[in-house]
């Protein structure tokens, strides 16, 4: 594809608009972000907050199951209350969206930035740079994510804001695959005529990277990133399951899922709400990611590959 300019952007929007599914997904994502941003407003309208206990709304003798049908749904508590504590589920869900989306997006940004920088540098640098960066990438890929997160999250003092920390840890540990993809894609692009032409005409590596390569790797990166967001949400959930996620009383979807899975029989809505929210988010992001990719580069829409750097190996 060509370098982005005013016409490129216009073209992109035109293409995106023609995809109904992607548009719907974009609206859903926008709504989710809006809900997350407007969480204090929404809960104010409901008249609740995510942390106040309502012991009278749960049946203490039965393990704290919510009193009333559908998990205690009422005019005051739109989606019912949490078992044991009686905290308002609607408030926890919308506040949870803030944390879950925030952590996942921030982690994705970290992963993409590191991944792109390392991947492009490895592809454009000399053989030593490539070897070094590729080995580092190998090390990162080969470290078990969960284990390292457990350790890292235990090391950092608890005064450090937890959501930021979780995002950083996920981001810093899981950028290996995106770096590989970017490196492979960059190596492919490097051989293409217009890039070679640009190099021949005396452009420096940095300029080539910025002007010619970045637009070229945008499609696979965006597609992969769209999948990373939901993955990161579930990683946050898994870390909560292992006891090192975002700290209470801050709600997150992952934390809700972790607490709720045993309630699947006694209070199903407690599990279904965060699970449903997560599912809608993942679905919307994935469809949107596909749409964006198609709009960016309809012909290379399926060029998503897991990079393995075969070109460089074959040549060397």
């Amino acid at each position: 594809m060509s370098a982005p300019g005013a016409s490129g952007a216009r073209q992109f929007w035109r293409r995106l608009r023609t995809q109904r599914a992607a548009l719907v997904a974009a609206v859903v994502v926008a709504l989710l972000v809006l809900v997350a941003l407007a969480a204090p407003l929404l809960t104010a309208i409901e008249g609740q907050d995510p942390t106040t206990y309502h012991p009278s709304l749960v049946d203490s003798a039965r393990g704290g199951v919510p009193i009333g049908s559908f998990g205690g749904v009422s005019a005051e508590h739109w989606l019912g209350v949490e078992p044991q504590t009686g905290r308002d589920l609607f408030a926890r869900l919308v506040y949870g969206a803030r944390v879950s989306l925030g952590v996942a997006l921030a982690a994705t940004v970290v992963q993409v930035v590191i991944g792109v920088v390392v991947g492009v540098a490895a592809a454009l640098g000399n053989q030593w740079v490539d070897q070094l960066l590729s080995r580092i990438t190998d090390v990162i890929v080969a470290m078990p994510l969960m284990i390292m997160s457990l350790a890292l999250l235990a090391i950092v003092p608890s005064s450090f804001p937890r959501p930021v920390l979780v995002a950083l840890v996920i981001g810093l540990i899981a950028w290996g695959n995106i770096a590989k993809i970017v490196r492979a894609q960059t190596l492919t692009l490097k051989e293409l005529d217009y890039v070679s032409a640009a190099r021949l005409s005396g452009w420096g590596s940095w300029r080539v990277a910025r002007r010619e390569l970045l637009p070229g790797i945008a499609a696979p990166v965006i597609t992969y990133a769209a999948l990373l967001v939901p993955t990161n949400i579930t990683v946050e959930a898994a870390l909560s399951f292992l006891g090192v996620g975002v700290k209470p009383p801050t709600p997150s979807w992952g934390q809700m899922l972790t607490a709720a899975d045993v309630w699947y029989q006694a209070a199903p809505q407690y599990l279904l709400l965060p699970a449903g929210a997560l599912f809608v988010t993942v679905l919307a992001l994935t469809v949107l990611g596909d749409g964006v990719r198609t709009a960016l580069d309809p012909r290379a829409a399926s060029r998503l590959r897991v990079g393995t750097g075969r070109k460089r190996e074959a040549k060397a």
């Binding site: 003798a61 504590t85 029989q265 006694a266 209070a267």
Partner: protein, 575 residues
């Protein structure tokens, strides 16, 4: 005891699978569930009992096990000088003889204890059990290689403080001089101070005989030599799966406590607690003859079980001496002000704390530090009555007197484990309640190891944190002394006297009670001492746990004592 459950494990770490093992609170004075549940049909010998556990039996060396009363599975293999009475409820909190003919004969000031072994006691290989083997078993528990047990032997035996066990010092064949074995059936213990509760200590696995010729050091746990009704057939994956079969040299005529109905015991562990409860409730196949010794019903499961009569009939309810509380460090502002401590005591909402711990069926609000059981000398008191939901008005009043008329911001330290004891759920419940009294609580959640390091070190101890304490044996001694005896403050190691209380009158009373060999009389005075200490508001007792555990359909003869609070495997029948 150590603060963890009845099951001996060196590390009460925040295990991933401990979701349900929480527990909760309290024991009503009389609870008949256990009795009505299991005792209806006659038990018979035979069959295989399956034990589904979350924690692997990683330690199976009698030297390393840290148990209350000898443990549940370990007690099938290791007999000890004394043991716990295998009866329901209160009667089960009594100590009775096991290998010995009685619970011990003290000298006048309870500093010398003499035991005589029963006749005809044999190991699994048919050789005779001697008093020297018991001495050797205790000695090896001093080896650094086999650390893990309770601290009492080291603290109580004469000249034991620096002893390093029989491996290091091979020339000294006499071993610990505090223990004498004048003949093969007699063993005498010399203590450095009066200890009327020595018979309780003699229930721990360190008092199990170990034949020196069969000792393989750290490898002994793979196949310890059995003195009990079962022997180890296999121990896979470091206690992940333990298979026990009958020890044919054990004789019921020398053992009044263990019934040993099943032919085979199959202990499977490393299971997720929700899975254990699912399996026990489904009760299909081998799971019909299954029990668990370490996994409680969680609140979610309880909600389901209470709606189902068949399941509810298969729940054993028990009480273990255990208290969850808020601890203060009075050297840190503003907790140096007793009024602030009292204000917090008044402000606490025990009903929301109890709910967070699993509801009224799993937790009972606590206003005393001692567990509410007779054997502890429980004397009910409520010095700072908070009512069900906290007395915010009274708390505000006290804060005003303390000079915090405009409220107060404090940090509550808790662990990030999932035990529903010192975990975030409880901390947020406290946070929410104190808000009503104008106290803003910031939460500081620490990873399990970090949390333990911090709260048990005099140098790093926070001012305001969640803590818990459990009974090494059902008496006030091991419950109060480590926490409130000023001489047990440890400056350079693990300190449990977190209130840093060093009160001469308290110390003197502890010494006086330790002299008593009449355990009932001692219990009364422990109860009174508890109330006296309570006046200083160094802790805010929150709740005592109630253990509710499912067992399979074919399980009979369920016995749950107040000593352990869980079903005793030595009594269970599956036929």
């Amino acid at each position: 005891m150590r603060q963890s459950s009845v099951i001996a494990r060196r590390v009460a770490a925040a295990s991933v699978s401990l979701v349900v093992a929480a527990g909760a609170a309290a024991c009503g004075p009389e609870d008949n569930d256990a009795k009505s549940a299991g005792g209806d049909s006659t038990p018979h010998k035979g069959g295989t009992l399956t034990v589904l556990n979350s924690q692997p039996q990683q330690d199976f060396d009698p030297a390393r096990l840290y148990t209350s009363g000898g443990g549940n599975v370990p007690s099938l293999v290791f007999r000890t000088l004394t043991t716990r009475n295998r009866e329901n409820g209160e009667a089960g909190a009594k100590v009775v003889s096991d290998l010995a003919t009685d619970t011990g004969r003290p000298n006048k000031d309870a500093t010398v204890w003499t035991y005589t072994l029963k006749e005809g006691l044999k190991y699994e290989d048919g050789t005779a059990i001697t008093s020297a083997d018991i001495k050797y078993g205790i000695e090896r528990s001093f080896a650094p290689e086999l650390s893990g047990g309770a601290p009492y032997l080291r603290d109580w035996l004469v000249g034991a403080a620096d002893y390093q066990g029989p491996y290091k010092d091979k020339r000294d064949t006499k071993g610990l001089s505090a223990i004498e074995t004048p003949d093969a059936r007699t063993i005498v213990f010399h203590l450095n101070k009066p200890e009327g509760e020595f018979p309780y200590l003699a229930t721990q696995t360190q008092f199990a005989p170990v034949p020196k010729a069969k000792d393989t050091g750290t490898k002994y746990e793979e196949h310890p030599v059995s003195s009990g009704p079962y022997k180890v057939v296999s121990n896979d994956n470091d206690g992940e799966r333990l298979v026990l079969e009958r020890n044919t040299h054990w004789s019921a005529s020398t053992d009044a406590e263990r019934k040993a109905y099943p032919d085979r015991i199959d202990v499977r562990s490393g299971l997720d607690s929700s899975v254990i409860n699912q399996r026990l409730s489904a009760s299909q196949g081998a799971d019909a003859a299954a029990v668990t010794t370490d996994t409680n019903l969680g609140p979610a499961e309880l909600a389901k079980v209470t709606g189902d009569k068949d399941l509810a009939a298969r729940v054993g309810t028990g009480h273990f001496g255990y208290t969850n509380y808020i601890a203060f460090n009075p050297t840190i502002k503003p907790f140096n002000n007793v009024k602030v401590r009292q204000a917090i005591s008044y402000a606490v909402d025990r009903s929301s704390v109890v709910n967070a711990a699993g509801g009224s069926a799993l937790a009972e609000p606590a206003t005393t530090f001692l567990p509410n059981q007779k054997s502890f000398g429980y004397e009910p008191y409520d010095l700072f009555p908070a009512g069900e939901a906290g007395n915010a008005a009274k708390a505000k009043e006290l804060l005003k007197e303390a000079g915090y008329a405009n409220g107060l911001t404090v940090t509550l330290t808790h662990s990030n484990s999932k035990d529903f004891e010192t975990s975030p759920e409880i901390a947020t419940a406290v946070q929410d309640a104190l808000k009503k009294a104008g106290i803003t609580v910031k939460l500081q959640g620490l990873e399990e190891n970090d949390y333990k390091d911090k709260i048990h070190s005099v140098r790093t101890e926070p001012g305001f944190f969640l803590a818990h304490w459990g009974a090494d044996w059902p008496s006030g001694g091991p419950f109060l002394a480590p926490i409130f005896d000023g001489r047990q403050i440890v400056k350079d190691g693990a300190n449990f006297n977190t209130g840093l209380l060093n009160d001469k009158s308290v110390n003197a009373e502890i010494d006086a009670i330790n002299k008593l060999t009449d355990l009932d009389a001692a219990a009364k005075r422990w109860g009174a001492l508890d109330k006296k200490i309570g006046e200083q508001a160094l802790t805010v007792p929150l709740f005592h746990p109630v253990y509710k555990r499912l067992y399979g359909e074919a399980v009979k003869n369920v016995v749950i004592s107040d000593w352990t609070g869980v079903l005793d495997i030595s009594q269970v029948a599956v036929k």
